[in-house]
Symmetry: C2
DNA sequence: CTTGGAATTGGAATTATTCCAAAGAGCGAA
DNA sequence: TTCGCTCTTTGGAATAATTCCAATTCCAAG
């Protein structure tokens, strides 16, 4: 369970990879942190434009890709729909509501993660695992 | 979450959905059964053409979609790469080898499946769950 | 036979994303 | 400060997978 990261880590994380903190990257990241509803690149683009009206969609794709590389953001794919982006770094699964299309984060206890990893036969060395539910949600919160 | 199914005839399954067994559907299905390497639609197209040289790619997409609807085949998505098709109906996860791009089926014991489903809080009703590993494989077989 | 719905076909359209070449920005060295 | 270098951004073109569509073709029932 990775703890939430302090805000200054964007610059730090980028620097660690030899990259610069630019206004575009900062705003893209802050937009993801501000509303954690798993937006698509187009949705991020729309939100970022409020602050940086001249940003281009290509740059949004670039920034998102950069954030994923730096492991500050996870890219979430559900079937063939557009990639969604998620700044939640704790181990979690995703639940995709078939009616609303909304995506929910589901925390994954380490014990379950461990058990899931045990299904791998010898010779399979996993660097990551993705668990995605699909169904109907009526979340309490 | 599909329970294991007895081997059932394509014709029967199609009929259950009010659909017809056509040569195209039969060959597409038999191609999937013959070589279970998770082919893409294009790969299926190439294989089917050996038997039905005039089939169109659109028809291959149609047939695959039909087979998925009838629950004879599973569509497997890995990130944004082309959808792959898999006639294995037992509950299983997928392991995606990062070097070779190959996909392996990993059997999922019911107990693990049950534990994974337990991570869902009240209000989340899953109709299916997808587990995908990514890493390096050196399979014994 | 005829006829209506199902299925197939080829090509155009769509969509998400990536590619590309040119312009811009920031930083360290001289 | 002024270069010069590299990293970034940008808009538009290109790509890739899939879907859409309109025109046949195929069957199976009446």
């Amino acid at each position: 369970m990775t703890p939430p990261l302090p805000p200054e880590s964007l610059t730090q994380r980028l620097a660690d990879s030899g990259l610069r903190a630019t206004p575009q990257r900062e705003v893209v990241y802050s937009v993801l942190l501000r509303k954690r509803d798993h937006p698509t690149a187009e949705e991020v683009f729309a939100r970022v434009k409020a602050e940086l009206p001249t940003i281009s969609l290509a740059t949004v794709y670039n920034c998102l890709e950069t954030l994923v590389q730096c492991e500050l953001v996870r890219a979430v794919n559900f079937e063939r729909s557009p990639t969604r982006y998620c700044p939640n770094l704790r181990p979690h699964a995703h639940f995709h509501d078939e009616q609303t299309g909304r995506t929910y984060d589901i925390d994954l206890p380490p014990a379950v993660l461990a058990e899931v990893n045990h299904v791998l036969p010898a010779g399979f060395d996993a660097s990551s695992v993705e668990i995605t539910f699909r169904g109907q949600a009526r979340p309490a919160s």
